[in-house]
């Protein structure tokens, strides 16, 4: 029997077995590389990938510990073609090429890939490549993700696909050059050798496999595997409702200083079962370490889709035939030119992009009837590179993954976000042991615990993150720095009435008497305790902190792992879940009272009756205090014109307007809207005998009324908002709030940078959406469906 595959006939049984073998081969190579690596982020966080590529660069079988690099090496192989390597440089059996130029492939400088051509009986039949993260790359600061980097040349050594092994022989001169350029040559060499060993293993096995199945079959089956991946993905995408879904996310991470940036994502689901992702609005590239090159953006799109829409799909570049990048503006933070630093591309700006994309995708999933798949945005990684001489007298350079990866996931429909373990780019997130890190680096983790109230409030709250107090111990030659974001403005947006996760920070406390106090039994459990109990120089900091030389007893307090975003109106949260959170240390009573309208009795239990009364009162207040969206826009347009906004917001809007024609058009559109809608109807109409055509959000349905007219209406009280392709937010009640009213104290963002724009149902006061945006920012329209195009307005 046989299946037709264009030209060649493929035995389906042989094919199925072949795919198992090929997957097992790359998996074996990946494990070899992972186990031999000396990098925590490779070994413990699993940041490693080994793959087999066909001669054109299509990744046929990809084994990854993390998903960031899934499409990356394809670009490296294509670069070799474009640069005529075969003709000018020579590609021979036994060669291996090393690359860490993120403009070619990879996400940032620490991502080293080694690409090896595979020959079978003299014919080049493809490539194997292994890619993993080596923290120390000789950048301006240790660790390769440097807040003080302002251009690519501060990011460390750039190695654009250079031949490291020629015909099986290591070029020692080149190796020595690489080792001479980094602070931890041993770590660099260890990782290089680990990748080479992984490649060698895969090469051997591929040849064995071809011996078994024959070269023609091998080639044809590889092609079919790519097609199968494509078909699978297409079919899954066809389950989504065609349309355009929009979302946005912000960040304050820049470099040594903070500066706002935006990413607005437009995700189009086509009738043909394809997804096109573009970012019509995005901030311009900057002299900072938080830019990304296009390969990083591409990688982010794929990993986001893999862990949400396609967890059971085939991991190869066949996916790129149905999931495509649309326009990503050139010289923007997401498509920077090669002179820009991209140190924080991986888990900084790209993760912000992922958050916006996830928001858009979750909206598509909900409106396609896949509620249980909805996942509110997670957060970004704030982390602590550290280097110097460790307590064993050995040079070291590392990233403390115990601190970085325990982030909260976004809320879900019916469930809270997963606490302290979610990174969208790595389903197998591994939270290192304190002992593992304390053995490697001269530190003591004094405190590592859940940060209460850090998850975004909502009916289903975001997962909480973790906070740390870490001190230097056992060495006085140590440099520590920190990178992160989400201090002044949130990096995620709540969905369907939920809020973003809380503000992150990173404080130093230097020259402390911590040893003495600890011996006296005085234990600092929180940032507040540190200030009250310990003596020393306290330096509150934003999350991006350039390197400092520290001494034993110096410490830092960080909320390295942020919280995920919440989903749904917090007034609908089950009070029992709040009690459980308080008991588990994931919430505090004081903040819960403020966020959820719950009333506790004297013994700390919920007073259900009073809670219900209070929540009803809160909804009434919303109806009284909210103004209609169109009216709100009017005042906002006016403020923009008059410059009556905080300077930071005004400058940000101006910068975005100048860089982005699409953003300019959004501002213009709001102006036109104000002129066209001089008289605003404020009456409330209810839909009668409406038939639900689709559930758009938990609180909004698209309904057909008895006259055959189609509306967006409240699913709780039948209040009509507008026609289906209009922006329902214009017809909701809006109220702008200082974030500190919702998340007090150090949980709060800066009101000059961001306001919480709450949208309520004008009929019942349900909070249907929250936008966490800079003051004066235009209101986003999240949906556009082809099926409703051409309706009246």
């Amino acid at each position: 029997m046989s299946m037709s595959n264009n030209k060649l006939e493929i035995d389906p049984v042989k094919y199925e077995i072949f795919t198992h073998r090929l997957e097992a081969i790359v998996e074996e190579g990946k494990e070899v590389t992972r186990y031999l690596s000396g990098s925590t982020i490779t070994r413990e966080a699993g940041e490693v990938q080994v793959a087999y590529y066909d001669p054109s660069g299509e990744g046929v079988a990809i084994a990854c510990g993390i998903l960031m690099h899934i499409m990356n090496v394809t670009r490296a192989i294509r670069y070799m073609k474009d640069q005529r390597y075969e003709e000018d440089i020579g590609i021979y059996e036994g060669d291996q090429f090393i690359n860490n130029d993120a403009y070619i492939a990879g996400m940032h400088v620490p991502d080293f890939s080694i690409v090896a051509p595979v020959y079978y009986k003299g014919e080049l039949i493809g490539y194997v490549a292994s890619i993993s993260h080596t923290p120390e790359v000789g950048a301006i600061e240790p660790g390769g993700m440097c807040p003080s980097a302002k251009e690519a040349y501060h990011d460390g050594i750039h190695v654009p696909l250079i031949k490291l092994i020629e015909k099986g022989k290591m070029r020692r001169d080149l190796l020595n050059m690489l080792l001479r350029n980094v602070r931890d040559p041993r770590g660099m060499e260890l990782d290089i050798r680990a990748r080479i060993a992984g490649n060698e293993r895969v090469k051997t096995r591929i040849k064995e496999l071809i011996d078994e199945v024959g070269l023609d079959f091998f080639k044809a089956a590889s092609m079919k595997y790519l097609e199968d991946s494509e078909n699978f993905a297409r079919k899954r995408i066809q389950e989504l409702r065609p349309g355009i879904y929009r979302a946005q996310a912000f960040t304050d991470s820049f470099g040594e200083e903070l500066k706002p940036a935006v990413i607005m994502v437009e995700m189009e689901v086509t009738n043909e079962g394809e997804i096109v992702v573009s970012t019509p609005v995005v901030s311009p590239q900057g002299r900072c370490f938080d830019n990304a090159y296009l390969p990083a953006v591409e990688a982010t799109v794929f990993y986001t889709m893999l862990v949400t829409l396609l967890p059971d799909g085939i991991w190869n570049t066949g996916l790129s035939r149905v999931i495509k990048l649309g326009e990503i503006p050139w010289k923007s933070r997401l498509n920077a030119d090669p002179s820009c630093s991209v140190g924080y591309a991986t888990v900084g700006i790209s993760s912000v992009f992922c958050n916006a994309l996830l928001d858009a995708l979750s909206r598509a999933l909900y409106s396609s009837g896949k509620k249980e798949e909805v996942l509110a945005p997670a957060t970004i990684v704030n982390d602590t590179p550290i280097g110097g001489i460790n307590q064993w007298g050995r040079q070291f350079g590392s990233i403390l993954t115990s601190g970085a990866l325990a982030s909260g996931g976004g809320g879900r429909i019916g469930k809270d976000g997963i606490d302290s373990s979610v990174n969208m780019w790595n389903p197998w997130t591994y939270i290192s042991d304190a002992e593992g890190e304390e053995n490697l680096a001269p530190i003591i983790h004094v405190v590592r615990k859940h940060r209460p109230d850090s998850g975004g409030p909502g009916r289903w709250r975001g997962g909480v993150g973790v906070e740390h107090i870490t001190m230097i111990h056992g060495s006085d030659i140590v440099q520590v720095m920190h990178f992160g974001g989400g201090h002044k403005i949130p990096v995620n947006q709540g969905m369907f009435g939920g809020y973003p996760g809380a503000s992150s920070y990173f404080d130093w406390m230097l020259g402390t008497d911590v040893y003495k106090k600890l011996r006296q039994g005085m234990f600092p459990e929180s940032a507040k305790d540190v200030m009250e109990i310990l003596k020393g120089e306290y330096i509150p900091g934003p999350p991006n902190a350039p390197a400092r030389h520290l001494k034993p007893g110096d410490l830092w307090i960080s909320t390295s792992c942020g919280g995920g975003a919440g989903i749904g109106d917090p007034m609908e949260r089950d009070p029992i879940a709040i009690l459980r959170d308080i008991e588990n240390g994931t919430a505090t009573r004081e903040v819960a009272e403020r966020q959820y309208g719950v009333v506790f009795d004297a013994s700390g239990n919920i007073d259900f009756e009073k809670t219900e009364q209070l929540r009803n009162q809160i909804k009434k207040d919303r109806l009284e205090r909210g103004i209609f969206g169109l009216e709100y826009i009017k005042t906002m347009v006016d403020k923009r014109e008059r410059g009556d906004l905080p300077k930071i917001a005004l400058d940000f809007i101006k910068e975005t307007e100048e860089f982005s024609p699409a953003f300019k058009e959004l501002l213009e559109a709001e102006k036109r809207l104000v002129v066209e809608n001089n008289v605003i109807e404020t009456g409330i109409k209810k839909v009668s005998e409406g038939k639900t055509i689709m559930e758009l959000t938990p609180y909004l349905n698209i309904v057909e009324d008895s006259k055959g007219e189609i509306w967006i209406a409240c699913s709780k009280c039948d209040t009509i908002y507008c026609e289906p392709n209009e922006n329902y937010k214009y017809y909701a009640l809006v109220r702008e709030r200082d974030p500190a009213e919702v998340q007090p104290g150090r949980l709060a963002f800066d009101k000059n940078w961001v306001v919480y724009r709450e949208f309520y149902c004008p009929g019942c006061g349900t909070q249907i959406e929250v936008e966490a945006v800079p003051p004066g920012w235009p209101i986003l329209s999240n949906y556009q469906f082809k099926e409703f195009e051409g309706s009246k307005k």
């Binding site: 469930k415 002992e435 600890l518």
Partner: protein, 725 residues
Amino acid sequence: MAVLSNFHGKRCVIFTDTGGTFTDAIVVFEDGTFLTGKSSTTYGRLEISFFESIKDALSSQVNLEKVLSSAEIVGYGTTHGTNIIVSGVGGAKVGVITTKGHEDRTIIGRLRAAGLDRREGMHIVRADKPEPLVPRRLIRGVIERLDCKGNVVVPLDEDSVRHAVRDLLKENVDGIAVCLLWSFLNPIHELRVKEIIQEMASDVSVVTSHEVTPVFREYPRFISTIVDLYIGAALRELFEKIKGKLSDQGYKHPLQILQASGGLSRAEVVRPGTTLHSGPVGGLIGVEFIKRLYGYENALGTDVGGTSFDICFSPKEGSPLLREPIVGRFEIATPMREIVTIGSGGGSIAWIEPATGVLKVGPQSAGSEPGPVCYDTGGTEPTVTDADVVLGRIDPNYFLGGKMKLNKKKAWKAIEEKIANPLEIDVPEAAESICKIIDGTMNATLQTSMNMKGYDPTSFICVAYGGAGPTHCAGYTEGIGFRSVIIPPQAAVFSAFGASTAGLLHRYEASCMAMFMEMDYDEVTGKFQLENLTSLSQLPSEALDRINSIWERLEERAKDDASAEGFSLEDMNRNYEMLARYGGQLWELRVPLKSGKINSIEDFKQMVRAFELKYLEVYGEHAMFPAGGLEVVSLSLEIRKQLWEPRIPKIDKGERDPSKALKSERDVYFNEKWINTRVYERSALKAGNIVEGPAIIEAKDTTIVIPLDRKVRVDDYGMLIMSDK
């Protein structure tokens, strides 16, 4: 099988295994004959099914008391502990005292997706953390701190301990797990916390993490410590009940418990955590028995059951261990023998992937309920067993020796509708494709798992067992090049049989974190230059002292346990191992050592050479990294004692021609055509018979398929040795 009346008074070993659905028993007599029995597992009162299964094996003709009084060993393997962890039901209420500031360690977890398969783990929206074994409200921190060298940085604040204990006692905990950071290097604080708890509440059980498993990395160590209490009480209660009844019925020796490390320990001393996932290890012990029987160096076992394909390894240096195995959704620090498992078995469902039209088999399984279509018990999805029936490989009238009639028509129809029609092929072709895919999947797993470990198949024998192992072993071993493939006479009950051959075993492991940096090395070979070392004084004394003191500690514990089992340490086989790596690496290699303590520079050199040899074997010379120096992370000592060795009876000799065992002929589908095939009765085969493929050999509990290019030789023990023609 032998005649029951012969058994009275014969020495025997009884082994019982409590599984999720059934409890199995095997009674093996000194002459190698055996009886097997089965009963439904009686949840809540597992001791009932324990005895029922033995009674079933003996049937009504033999008196249980008589057999028990002549039993040398009664062994017991149980999933009880595993079930408590997986279900979260029946565990003790445990409180935890830990280092202040780290109270959330076990709640935050380590690998969120632990225990999930690749697809489940990828699907983040559904890949929640497990419910913790100890909820946050039962975890208390105490002020104390050690550093990574075991030095006290913050002395234990005893007031904070008393406060924590009072809190936990108020919550009425059944036991307290003391889990402090770095305690494995210096137990001073854990010991003091334990004393304080015992002063305050003498009736509360206390365990400390350095006692349970004194190893590096706190998450798995803490979980192992919690598990010790969480399942401990329930297990001890069960063992007590069984022991009481056994001695009432005349059994004179200790009840021996099977551990996942591959050996027995008496019920009084066994650590609860070692019983977790002990079920599949019986097969490995059986493989080790076969190795001893023939004097082979390297062997592996392949077990095909209804839902899974399990591979275990027994190379000459000893069976590999999983360092931090996963039980349910938790990583623990109690090592287990490595069993590689994939979801391929007789019950694996064949299906067509809708988007690509590709035929897939598994990982979903019809299990025993509803079971394959041919069982006629409600299954509607075609399975591997259905394909075997359709192809004529399994005789529908002789399944389980004819005890269960299979419905071939239904199996045929299911394959026709669900597979053959959509693929536009005929039914036998579809059925053969199902078998080829399942065999190919198992084959790929087998090859990869050997490759990962650097095992050379030509020096290994492969033992095939489990209900469906003999049916599929020709397929899944094809092209691998094993020295031979052996199908033992006890194939269908091989795990139970194997467990009955288990010896005593205790394992100890402790981390020492000893570093030998700055050793000279040859840049070309990548090897350490040991010739320059002439005296131990050239090495860091701190590292040497730590290694030697840990060896002393481990041997001390081994001595105590050996004497508790009634032996002296000298009576036991001792295996020394270290976990070591190049400095700077983060994961360790397990290296067998000839001896423990380093008394001379030669001992040290031997240790380093053993590491280099193993490293080269597994990773090759490109990966050598002597610049990092050598780091010895942990040491382990294993003591073993074989208590009993069953004799396998030899069978009668016959000629090369197996015709006397021929029972019938039927059409069997091989390589896309129906071939008239001879069918032999296994019990009638004689030593020296050679059965050439194509052929089928039928036993009461399994069917052996010999394709065209294979043959089977019957040896003196009645083992079937399969090889290429």
